[in-house]
């Protein structure tokens, strides 16, 4: 079976671009904190979602709904309603991070496929077995922490289908267990569906350069002409001992195009493009390139090559115009 291409849809235009450029599935969220891209102006109203489903279905593209945040006790009913709503819409799969939500979906709507979100933070066959045994998941999205050899090893033993990140912004911390945004702003991917929320970001031009702050904390300062990235905590410049540098990671994006043959050979079921917060044009271009790459691999699995144009375009669309294989490659670790 060929490897599936799963693409982000933060809006109806982005969804249309993903579908028209050859996504096998798109993933989207409702317009609230039940999903991990709860940004103002993003995501789908009921009316949008019906049009999205119609458009995707007419072209044979599946629709997944992300319900990948962590409700506290007082908010469980809101997440359960979101599960019901997605089920009533007849979507193809639910992407869930949290156990109570998964358990509810299993009991109430057993026939809708459940995918473990990357926020569920499962990195081993045992952890995947837990979710499989307890909540009957069919697929899991792997955190961006495993080297390619580890992905291959896990794919041999996994009790469920695996989906891995292929392209987009690079979370360098194991997903679902990163509190850097929460530590600074009180709002986290797990609880609020946001990382470094915009309302805490402040830009200022100063004599020393342009500063980017998150809730008052100086994340970086940029000289004239230096590209100024969005201030996420893990990509800031800090001082360690007497050196100032990107102490955790530089602004860069993940690009695994060259690993595609190994991922497919390992039996990975799907590759995921990150970026529900990105523009329709971005989603369209990235989807087109990955579609072409997967089709080429399928046509000649033993002779896969990438096009210069693909690499150029993907690099142009990346954070800081830099791409990396990230943790897939041991040297990065």
């Amino acid at each position: 079976m060929s490897i599936k291409l799963v693409c982000p849809a933060g809006s109806l235009p982005a969804l249309t671009e993903a579908v028209n450029n050859g996504a096998d599935a798109v993933y989207l969220g409702f317009r609230d904190e039940t999903n991990a891209r709860a940004f103002p102006g993003l995501n789908f109203s009921d009316r949008d979602i019906e049009r999205a489903l119609a458009h995707a279905r007419a072209r044979g593209c599946q629709v997944y709904v992300a319900l990948n945040t962590y409700p506290t006790s007082d908010k469980l009913s809101q997440w359960y309603s979101a599960v019901d709503r997605a089920a009533d819409l007849g979507v193809d799969a639910l992407i869930i991070a949290e156990m109570a939500v998964m358990d509810y979906a299993l009991r109430k709507h057993p026939n809708i496929r459940r995918h473990l979100s990357v926020q569920g933070s499962a990195t081993t066959a045992a952890a995947l077995g837990f979710y499989r045994e307890c909540f009957g998941i069919s697929r899991a999205v792997l955190p961006r922490v495993l080297a390619i050899q580890q992905v291959e090893h896990l794919a041999e033993r996994s009790p469920v289908e695996l989906e891995v990140f292929a392209f987009g912004s690079l979370c360098i911390m194991v997903e679902g267990r990163c509190q850097l945004s929460s530590y600074v702003t009180g709002r986290s991917p797990n609880l609020a569906g946001v990382c470094s929320p915009a309302e805490f970001v402040a830009w200022e031009d100063t004599a020393e350069g342009k500063t980017a702050r998150l809730n008052g904390v100086l994340i970086d300062r940029f000289a004239d002409g230096e590209p100024a990235g969005y201030p996420v905590v893990c990509k800031g410049r800090y001082q360690v001992d007497d050196r100032t540098f990107h102490a955790l990671e530089e602004p860069t994006s993940l690009n695994t195009l060259e690993l595609l043959p190994r991922l497919a050979a390992a039996g990975v079921s799907a590759v995921k493009i990150e970026g529900r917060q990105r523009s329709a044009a971005y989603v369209g271009t990235v989807t087109r390139i990955w579609r072409a790459a997967i089709d080429r691999l399928e046509a000649s699995p033993d002779n896969f090559t990438t096009e210069d144009e693909w690499r150029r375009e993907l690099t142009r669309l990346s954070e800081g115009s830099q791409v990396t294989l990230g943790p897939y490659q041991r040297a990065w670790q």
Binding site: Y70, P71, T72, S73, D74, K75, A97, E98, M99, A100, D103, S121, A122, T123, T124, A125, A126, A127, G129, F130, Y131, R144, V145, L146, A147, Q150, I172, M173, V174, G176, R177, C178, Q179, L180, Y183, V184, T185, G186, S188, N190, L191, N215, V217, L218, I219, D220, R221, V233, R237, Y238, Q239, V240, R243, A247, L248, P327, R330, A331, W332, Q333
Partner: protein, 283 residues
């Protein structure tokens, strides 16, 4: 409320680690967690060493729990986790869901570490059915959330909270400590052994901010909830966790023992308690 000594987050030479636990054996803490939770390359003590230490601490009257790795990536790490779960003597603090599953399969009771995401009372009940006897709360849950975790069920597992120490905030495939000296994780040269409390990360305005500890990032500041023990008690917290530091740990224990005995405790300089109060952790 009980006091616990959490697992050592830093990498200390063997002699320093053994001396530390010898000191702590005589301290009034109820529970001691032992084991390496951050990086599998840290092997100054191996499983038989931790077990021997566990027996000594148990003989000194402490409840002993073995803590597993928070982020498991390699097959060898999963095997090591299995050996810990199968130790036959001590219960496990599961650092991740791999360890949860290994305990569940074997019908063994377990404690969940702060890296196991239990955010609501339903998840708590589901894991209780899987064998959970005590949860160490995810670090970002404050008073309000912990109260609602407790509400539904009197037979709830115990709740333990980080009451003193730097907050573990994130884990990566990458070793930040090795990277800071231009090396990869595979060639780390055990750089982190030179930093008994990690490496402080300051902003470009010199504000102390984060703390790098191998593949882990911690808060730059120490969370200290000792002035709040009354509130912690009434919120239903059962165990206060003190995370080992290189400073005077017996003094920290004494501070908390005093607070538990009702003696007023002043807020220490540069400490934080934001999470408990529903604010950013750094407050």
């Amino acid at each position: 409320m009980k006091l616990s000594l959490g697992p050592l987050q830093y990498f200390w030479p063997r002699a320093k680690t053994l001396a530390f636990y010898e000191t702590m054996a005589g301290q009034p803490v109820d529970i001691v967690y032992l084991g390496e939770t951050v990086c599998s390359k840290r092997r100054e003590l191996r499983l038989p060493d931790w077990l021997a230490l566990g027996r000594e601490l148990k003989a000194a009257g402490h409840e002993v729990v073995l803590s597993t790795l928070t982020l498991i990536e390699a097959a060898s790490e999963l095997s090591a986790c299995k050996r810990m779960v199968d130790n036959g003597e001590f219960p496990i603090e599961a650092g991740d869901l791999s360890a949860v599953e290994l305990c569940r399969e074997r019908g063994l009771p377990f404690v969940s570490g702060p890296g196991v995401n239990i955010y609501n009372n339903r998840a708590l009940a589901l894991l209780r059915d899987a064998g959970l006897i005590r949860m160490v709360a995810p670090v970002e849950l404050g008073r309000e959330h912990l109260v609602s975790l407790r509400a539904e069920d009197e037979a709830s597992p115990e709740i333990e909270l980080l009451a003193w120490g730097r907050i573990p905030l994130s884990y990566s495939a990458r070793c930040f400590t090795a990277r800071a000296v231009g090396r990869g994780k595979d060639q780390c040269g055990f750089e982190c052994i030179h930093y008994p409390e990690g490496q402080l990360v300051r902003t470009r305005e010199d504000q102390p901010f984060l703390n790098m500890n191998g593949i882990q990032v911690q808060s730059g500041a120490v969370q200290d909830l000792s002035p709040l023990v009354g509130e912690l008690d009434s919120a239903g917290v059962d165990v206060l966790r003190l995370s080992p530091g290189a400073g005077d740990m017996p003094a920290v224990v004494a501070r908390f023992r005093g607070a538990l005995a009702g003696r007023p405790v002043a807020t220490a300089r540069d400490t934080i308690s934001g999470y408990w109060q529903g604010r950013p952790g750094m407050d």
